[in-house]
């Protein structure tokens, strides 16, 4: 990074540390924090869409749709979510390759699950074996995000379903009395009104999502846990570092990162909840009205 760092022997003390902390690997390490933030930024809206779809389906008057929605909501109860993470990453990967193999492989190809391996023809590999390493990383990241979205979508569906049920029936009936159609009641009354009931659950989920991000490591993405282990160890298979076992300090750093994230979110969500409660017929809203009066 700095020109002074060119000769490792000549530097020591603080200047050594500054050189050490700006080495190429460390820049990758800092970049992986950005990856975590990107994951959060992409997964949260994706999970909201999945969850909204699931909750709406679970309320559907059409029975098969309702069953699908309810099954999706029930999926995450009773089963550790880490099992879903490990399952979906492989299952999605194989599913995509299988579907692609149906389209591009020559007719009469063998069934891909054979004994101890999963094999599709070379053209059906995703990404293709010839594509760049960046492509492989992007694909791995995409699979991880998709898996997160499915699992957290089910949690969100659970929360939104409860929130939709919690909107006072009288409000919906009033809207119907004004002659609104089913869809209009849904769009104009139910959706705007449900957020105040959904917010506690959603903020809880956001915290859980933040705390789930280290699981990226298990999904094969080179995330902050990966780099903390790599950089902190005194030697890896390839490199030897000029320091002892520093993994403890790296993990302490990660701990501080996560504690900051959750603390900042907590403060922010508290404000949001106050704003949403304003003028609502809930205990919090009533307390605000009293305090103001």
């Amino acid at each position: 990074m700095f020109s002074a760092c060119a000769d490792p022997k000549a530097i020591e003390g603080l200047s050594w540390l500054s050189c050490y902390l700006t080495s190429g690997k460390h820049l990758d390490f800092y970049w992986s924090f950005v990856i975590v933030l990107i994951l959060l930024a992409v997964t949260a809206p994706a999970a909201m869409i999945f969850g909204f779809g699931g909750a709406t389906m679970a309320r559907s008057p059409i029975a098969p749709l309702r069953w699908v929605g309810k099954a999706y909501i029930a999926m995450v109860r009773g089963i550790p979510d880490i099992i879903f993470f490990m399952f979906f990453v492989i299952a999605l990967d194989q599913g995509i390759e299988y579907l692609k193999s149906l389209a591009v492989c020559p007719a009469g190809s063998a069934w891909p699950w054979q004994g101890l391996e999963f094999r599709v023809c070379a053209e059906a590999k995703v990404p293709l074996a010839t594509s760049s390493p960046l492509m492989f990383q992007m694909y791995g990241f995409f699979l991880a995000v998709f898996t997160f979205a499915i699992v957290f979508g089910a949690f969100v569906a659970n929360v939104l379903f409860g929130a939709m049920q919690a909107v006072p029936r009288a409000q919906l009936e009033t809207a119907e009395a004004y002659g609104m159609s089913h869809g209009q009641v849904f769009r104009r009354i139910l959706i705007p009104q449900m957020w105040v009931y959904a917010l506690p659950g959603l903020s809880n989920l956001w915290m859980i999502l933040i705390k789930a991000t280290p699981l990226l490591f298990l999904l094969g993405v080179k995330d902050i846990v990966y780099y903390a282990r790599e950089l902190g160890g005194s030697k890896t298979q390839v490199y030897e570092y000029p320091h002892g076992d520093w993994r403890l300090y790296y993990f302490l750093g990660l701990m501080v990162f996560y504690l900051t994230m959750t603390r900042v979110s907590e403060i922010f969500l508290k404000r949001l909840s106050n704003r949403l409660s304003k003028g609502q017929a809930t205990a919090a809203g009533e307390a605000m009205r009293r305090a103001g009066a």
């Binding site: 099992i83 399952f87 391996e117 298990l218 282990r229 701990m255 603390r263």
Partner: protein, 275 residues
């Protein structure tokens, strides 16, 4: 080889009893069921012990957090914040790396040598982390319950002349448990789910003695077929969740036995999963 032989060979494989080598090829359904089920022993071990010890620490922490004295309240608040605010996954890593740094030969104290190597093993180290983690989560639940004890109950107690320790033992503590119990049931379930993380974090599985997910992952890796082992482990966990719900439901019934039927608090499952 019949299924009964497999169960004899692998039924206790996760704790080192039975066949030494794991099956390498030609996996049967029976093998997958047996090994994953044997791994479940570790999940039960971690879950039950962490929950049991955690219950006591959680009570102490909840009381400390509700204390008037800052020197009691502040440490409890920080403890709860640190363990609830950071991922359990990172806590496992951190604990493992810290325990590894202890001197291998043991610590000399007053001429006695205290062995330290056992603390880096999963059965001790991971259990300790889980114990602290569940204490923090449960403490927050109990603290919330403590604060929502109806004012009238406490005033009634005082009117009867029940004060101090007696008031706590006979009024506050039972009411706190009763109010917090549905949330505590969730905590128990999700602590149990969290035990699957143990062998995927810093703690290694010696001699391939791992928990249920460790074996499920082993099968999925070997066969490249996730569609068999993961549903099996899912079934095991659903069964365990039902058992926990039933046990805690019985306790809930007992805690609420003095209330009229229609006031009993029902236990609702709420996802509070990854930590």
């Amino acid at each position: 080889m019949s299924c009964w032989d497999t169960i004899q060979d692998y039924g206790l494989r996760s704790i080192g009893i039975g066949e030494n080598l794991l099956p390498k090829k030609d996996f049967t359904l029976c093998q997958e069921f047996t090994l994953i089920g044997s791994g479940l022993l570790w999940n039960i071990y971690f879950g039950v012990l962490a929950l049991f010890f955690g219950f006591f620490l959680a009570n102490a922490l909840a009381l400390a957090k509700a204390s008037r004295h800052a020197w009691l309240r502040k440490p409890a608040e920080w403890f709860i914040f640190v363990f609830r605010g950071s991922p359990l996954f990172i806590q496992f890593f951190l604990a493992y790396e810290a325990l590894v740094l202890l001197p291998r030969t043991g610590i000399e104290l007053f001429g006695l040598t205290i062995a330290t190597s056992w603390t880096t093993k999963a059965w001790a180290g991971a259990l300790f982390v889980l114990f602290l983690n569940t204490s923090a989560y449960s403490a927050e639940i109990f603290f919330g319950a403590l604060r929502s004890i109806p004012k009238g109950d406490l005033e009634a107690a005082e009117a009867y002349g029940i004060t101090g320790w007696n008031k706590f033992r006979r009024i506050e503590w039972p009411t706190m448990l009763r109010l917090g119990w549905p949330a505590y049931t969730n905590e128990a379930i999700f602590l149990f789910h969290a035990t699957t993380l143990v062998f995927f974090s810093g703690f290694p599985a010696f001699g391939q003695q791992g928990d249920a997910l460790y074996y499920a992952n082993y099968f999925a890796d070997k066969t490249f077929n996730p569609f068999v082992p993961y549903p099996i482990i899912a079934m095991y966990f659903i069964a365990m969740t039902l058992i926990i719900t039933w046990v805690f439901g019985r306790i809930n019934k007992r805690l609420n036995r003095h209330l009229p039927q229609n006031m009993k608090s029902r236990i609702r499952l709420r996802p509070q999963l990854v930590r």
